[in-house]
């Protein structure tokens, strides 16, 4: 089909969606060349994770009109990773991913960040229009979810304020299964709202490991969870340290021989200890494509978006399903924030102590931030010392003597008997404070 009327343009196909009006579109869709150009010139997307999903996401976004991308990943490439060239083994995943996609797609700028997601300032994340996640752990998702939802502010009638909404698109895969979901803080459920979706990890009962092992996995976990602490005391086991892994393997073999159990291999040892589930390139391609598509639709409004959770299973035939989950109104992360009523005399130190006792928080070693100001930081030592004098001051004063405002607290929370990094939003209201407050200064700096 020769296109006789219009000259061939790189954006010929995208233009049909971005420049033409439609009926099944998003609520704020303004079709036109300006929209396409704005996406190209101004929109910034962060891809979290540069693994199987992250690399696909970068490529998909680069080929969908986005020009300003960042990618963050703390790992280096290993031999076992898919879709890599051997020469790249040992290099940071983020850097190689950025380089490869920039080579393939002219004009795209990708800034790689070889770092842990926790090591970035909140401001870093705030600079992006939308965050796309290609992660492999619940903890990492929870963290980013906490950050993105942390930007969310509510107005007087508990309606989310639009300009503070930081949307996320999250994808995950496991063998032939995968999911893609859209998270619009304050509107759709956030990651925390639907945390019950994730079944608890399978753990073998201790008595099986200790007394009646029956299969190879039992022998391996015995060596990993029981024998290692017995022999190595305080030294924690590092699954990425080959010597540690070899030690566990040797012990597992001994145990297996003792009980006459076959099947312990080095590769099984790695799989059991690291909980490895094999990755399939096509599943990653499918899920990332869905996520990238949603990113384009959310940013441009060129079509209705996924509402809000897509599951995919390609092992037995093909099954895809959309479920519309509902927000948890009392969500600690994307809700207006847990209400904490305080006396104006309470010191910052007392406030931090209270967080540890609070039944819904159980947050220890808390750092406190009010808007852009850090009131107290647990680490690094230099900053801790700098902020230490604040501890004895009343929180009311530190917060500028406003009657109520939002603070963010970051520390270690005890959730399901496990310690996790946690970033939570709190609504602080001061009792007995002067009700006549200048509303302009009430909302953080």
């Amino acid at each position: 089909m020769a296109d006789l009327e219009a000259p061939q343009s790189k954006t010929r196909d995208l233009d049909k969606l971005l420049l033409r009006a439609g009926n099944l579109v998003g609520p704020d869709f303004y079709p036109g060349a300006e929209l396409r150009d704005d996406i190209r010139d101004y929109v910034r997307v962060l891809v979290v994770g540069a693994g199987g999903l992250g690399c696909e996401l970068l490529k998909d976004l680069a080929l969908s009109g986005f020009r300003n991308l960042d990618v963050i990943d703390m790992d280096r490439i290993e031999v076992t990773n898919l879709n890599r060239q051997l020469e790249d083994v040992g290099k940071p995943k983020a850097e190689v991913a950025a380089k490869r996609v920039m080579e393939r797609v002219s004009g795209v700028e990708i800034v790689p960040h070889f770092s842990r997601i926790e090591d970035k300032e909140l401001d870093f994340y705030n600079d992006f229009n939308i965050i796309a996640l290609g992660l492999d752990s619940i903890e990492a998702r929870r963290y980013i979810n906490g950050v993105a939802c942390g930007f969310l502010e509510y107005d007087e009638d508990d309606t989310p304020r639009r300009e503070t909404i930081k949307p996320m698109v999250d994808g995950g895969t496991e063998g032939f299964k995968g999911h893609a979901r859209v998270i619009v803080p304050g509107v759709t459920p956030c990651f925390e709202c639907t945390i019950w979706l994730f079944p608890p990890q399978v753990k073998f009962p201790l008595c099986t490991l200790a007394e009646t092992p029956r299969n190879a996995a039992h022998c391996i976990e015995y060596a990993h969870l029981i024998k290692w602490p017995e022999v190595h005391g305080g030294k924690s086991f590092d699954p990425d340290e080959p010597e540690h892994m070899k030690w566990v393997y040797d012990e597992a073999i001994k145990r297996a021989e003792l009980f006459g159990i076959p099947g312990v291999t080095y590769s099984l040892t790695q799989g059991v200890v690291k909980n490895i589930i094999p990755a399939i390139a096509s599943t990653n391609a499918i899920i990332s494509a869905a996520c990238a598509l949603e990113t384009l639709k959310i940013v441009s409004g060129c079509s209705k978006t996924l509402a809000n959770y897509l599951t995919y299973n390609g092992g037995e035939g093909l099954h895809t399903k959309v479920t519309e989950f509902v927000r948890d109104q009392d969500c600690l992360v994307c809700g207006p924030g847990i209400l904490i009523e305080l006396d104006t005399s309470i010191t910052l130190q007392k406030f931090i102590d209270m967080l540890e006792e609070h039944p819904k928080l159980l947050l220890s070693k808390a750092s406190v931030k009010h808007g852009k100001d850090s009131l107290y930081m647990q680490a690094p030592p230099v900053l801790e010392e700098m902020h230490r004098p604040n501890l004895s001051k009343p929180l009311y004063d530190l917060m500028g003597r406003v009657q109520k405002d939002t603070v963010h607290v970051f520390g270690t929370a005890l959730k399901n008997e496990e310690k996790q990094s946690s970033l939570t939003k709190l609504r602080v209201v001061f009792k007995g404070a002067d009700g006549v407050t200048d509303m302009d200064t009430a909302i953080g700096a």
């Binding site: 089909m1 995208l14 099986t208 096509s282 391609a285 494509a289 209705k304 299973n313």
Partner: protein, 393 residues
């Protein structure tokens, strides 16, 4: 599509059609017949035969006394032993029948529970949870029965290895199997002393091996009968067939020509009227309408910016006439979908292509490796609300 499909079908070449059009797409597999031994289903019941124990299992179970006085030993008797014993006691007092009514099943579970001497006996808890395996019907599933009754199960010199083995399976089930397929051989993990567990494992492995040897013999005999070399089907292949005998799958696909000339009218009508399927079915119809449009007007609807209204109206007419040909005169296609189709203007978006391309490559992998089960139907990708569907047409 029709032409290519016909050529490939005649040459016995598997085809996977993929299409990316605006925000929608299509994936369609077309193969005369695809047989699978290694279907690897996600969830499949283990083959413990608690409802039909064989002599060796029975003898082993007899050597274990449930009423052992040592508490540790008592709670380390595997549930297989518990259930086989209790099922046996039950049948003896119920004219040789296993529990079948709701009340009987409850009674049986209570019966098992009554043998617990303390609350921390995980083996008994597992037995109660696994009691349903005792109530399960004996013998092979209706799906496997259907495969055994298939016309291809009559072996001839043209029969593929799969069908030769199915013929052997059919013989096995009617003779040595006594209604059952060869034993799979593996057992799930369960609370047990290491010794009991390993002994139990050995018994299941031994029976699986014995069943395999019978199957091997039958396969060789059938091969001889149809004039083939009796060793032409390898031991590992037969072994794998035996292990997966309960999970076999046969996939057959209509030709595209047949799909077009003999449409599944009720299915199409039903989907167009269903809230969750109307989008996908609508786009299926529109993708075909678009091809008709192109044949008539030598361009795709909405391909060029000018003349959009005219294209929309023409596409609508084309779609309605196609619906009439599909026997669905009364059915309606929402205007929104028709408008969207013209808006797409035959554009190809990378992300949509990547999605359907990923699906298609997955299907190719399944077809080539003969593992896992390919999609049985036409997949319509709906990138607007992601209410994509697998349509059986």
């Amino acid at each position: 599509m029709v032409k290519l499909d016909r050529i490939c079908r005649e040459a016995d070449v598997k085809v996977v059609f993929v299409r990316s059009y605006g925000l929608v797409g299509l994936v369609r597999v077309s193969v005369q017949e695809h047989t699978i031994i290694d279907s690897k289903p996600d969830h499949f019941l283990d083959d413990l035969r608690l409802n039909n124990p064989w002599p060796e299992l029975y003898s082993f179970v007899e050597t274990i006394d449930l009423n052992v006085s040592d508490h540790v030993a008592h709670k380390h008797i595997p549930y297989v032993v518990i259930l086989v014993k209790m099922a046996d006691e039950w049948t003896k007092s119920h004219s040789g029948n296993l529990p079948s009514t709701r009340e009987e099943k409850k009674e049986f579970k209570d019966f098992v529970k009554s043998k617990m001497i303390s609350m921390d006996e995980d083996n008994y808890k597992e037995a109660i949870e696994a009691a349903f395996k005792v109530f399960a019907p004996r013998g092979i599933s209706s799906e496997i029965q259907q495969i055994c009754n298939d016309t291809c199960a009559e072996p001839s010199s043209n029969s593929s290895d799969f069908w030769v083995m199915v013929a052997a399976l059919k013989e096995f089930v009617s003779n040595e199997g006594d209604g059952e397929a060869p034993l799979e051989g593996s057992i799930p993990d369960m609370t047990s002393s290491t010794e009991h567990y390993i002994n139990l494992q050995k018994i299941y492995l031994a029976k699986a091996e014995a069943d395999f040897l019978v199957m091997e013999k039958r396969v060789k005999n059938i091969l001889k009968r149809i004039g083939r070399d009796p060793s032409s089907i390898s031991k590992p292949t037969i072994k794998s067939f035996c292990k997966n005998a309960r999970k076999l799958k046969v996939c057959r696909y209509r030709t595209v020509e047949d799909e077009f000339s003999n449409p599944s009218v009720t299915e199409i009508q039903k989907c167009l009227a269903d809230e969750d399927y109307s989008g996908a079915m609508g786009f299926y119809v529109l993708l075909r309408a678009v091809d008709r449009f192109t044949a008539n007007y030598n361009k795709f609807p909405g391909q060029f910016d000018g003349g959009m209204d005219e294209d929309i109206s023409r596409l609508k007419t084309t779609a309605l006439s196609l619906l009439a040909d599909l026997g669905c005169n009364g059915s309606v296609l929402p205007d929104d979908l028709i408008n969207e189709m013209c808006r797409f203007g035959a554009s190809e978006l990378h992300v949509v292509a990547a999605f359907v391309g990923g699906i298609a490559s997955q299907e190719v992998i399944k077809l080539v490796t003969k593992q896992f089960v390919p999609m049985l139907g036409t997949y319509i990708f709906n990138g607007i609300d992601h209410k994509s569907q697998l349509l059986t047409l």
